[in-house]
Symmetry: C2
Subunit: 217 residues, 2 copies
Amino acid sequence: MTITITAFERSPDRGKGLARDMRVRWALEEVGRPYDVRLVSFEAMKQPDHLARSPFGQIPTYEEEDLVLFESGAIVFHIAERHASLLPSERDARARAINWMFAALDTVEPPIFERTLAQILERDEPWFEQRLQVLEANIRKRLDGLSTRLGDAEWLDGAFTAGDLLMVSVLRRLHGSTILEDYPNLLAYVGRGEARPAYKRAFEAQRAVFEASKGTA
Amino acid sequence: MTITITAFERSPDRGKGLARDMRVRWALEEVGRPYDVRLVSFEAMKQPDHLARSPFGQIPTYEEEDLVLFESGAIVFHIAERHASLLPSERDARARAINWMFAALDTVEPPIFERTLAQILERDEPWFEQRLQVLEANIRKRLDGLSTRLGDAEWLDGAFTAGDLLMVSVLRRLHGSTILEDYPNLLAYVGRGEARPAYKRAFEAQRAVFEASKGTA
C-alpha cells in the first residue's frame, strides 16, 4: 500500500521544517512507513485537482488507496492509530495523548501561528510593535500553563506520543524569537523532540526539497 | 459511571451557546449520556484545583472516573469513539469524519475565533477596522472552500458525524454578522444542525445556566 503526501515545491520557511508536511513526515518516520511526496507549487494548489483533495487548498494531503485526508492533525492521528508507538494502548492513557494532540493544535498553536502571520503580513503597519506585544502576551499565557504542567518530565504524559510530536512541532515556530528561552524546560523538551532519529530523517527529507528548489526559477 | 463537565458560571456569550461546553453537551446528548455540570467562575478557573484539571485554565473539562480531559475537540472525540452514532464504523469513512473534526477546529475556527476576540479586545485599537477586514477576508477564504465542498449535501460526508457537530458549532460564531448569509448552503447546514433534538436539549441546558446566573451578583 503506497502512501503519498503533498508538500510545498518551495517552502516559504526555506527548509526550516515549519510547513505542516513536516509533522506528517515525522509521524511516518516514527512508525517506519515509507512514503512518496508529490510537490505542489502555489499555483498548482489553487487548481481543481489539488482542491479535490484539499478543499481549502492547503498542504499536506495524504493519500492511501482510496482514502484522502487533508488536515495534518487528522493525518498524524490516522498514522498513530494504525501503528503502535505513537499512541498508548491503555484506554485512559490513549485518551490523554489524544487530548494533548488537540491541545497542541487548538490551544497552543493558534497564538503562535498568529505571530508568524503578523510578522509576514503586518510588519510594515504602524501598529506592528503594539500588536506583537499583545500576541506575545497570549503566547506566554499558554507557555506558562504548558511549562508548569510539563515540569521536569521528559514528555507530556509518560512515553513519547503523537501529542508530543505535535506539541514540539508547534513550539518550533518560536525558534528565532527569545520567548522559548524564558522556559528552559520547554526549550529542552523541544530539543529532545528534535534529537529523535525519526525527527532528523523527516527534517533532512523536507530540507532536501528546499535545497533542490534553489536551482530552479 | 458518572461524567462531569465544567462550564462557565456566567458565560460571556450570555447564553448563546458559543462557549465550548456547548459542543460537549451536544455530543453527550447525541449519544444519550447523562452528565453532571460543575460551574466555575472566572476566579475559580485560575485556582489550583481547576488548573490541575485544565493546565490552560479553560472550560470545558471532562471527568469520567480517573480520566480527566481538557480540550473540547478531544472530549467530543472521546465521546464519539465510545458510542455509536457520531463516527462511522467503516474504516475510511471514520478517518474522513475525524478529518472534518480537525478541519473544523484547525482550519475553519481560527480565523472565526480571531474575529470574535478582536471584536472584544481590539475594538479601541488603531488597527481595528483594517484588521477586521483582513480577518473577514480570511474567513471568507475558508467558507469558499467549505461551501464548494458541501455543495447541496445535507452533511459533510454522508450521515451526520462528530465532524458536522464541530463544524456547525464553529460556524455558529458567525451568527450576528452577515458573512454566513453570503453562503446559503452553509446557512442551511447550520440550521439543520441547530434543528437536531440533541442540539436543542444541549442549547436549553446551557441557556438555563445563564438565566439562573442573572439573579446573582
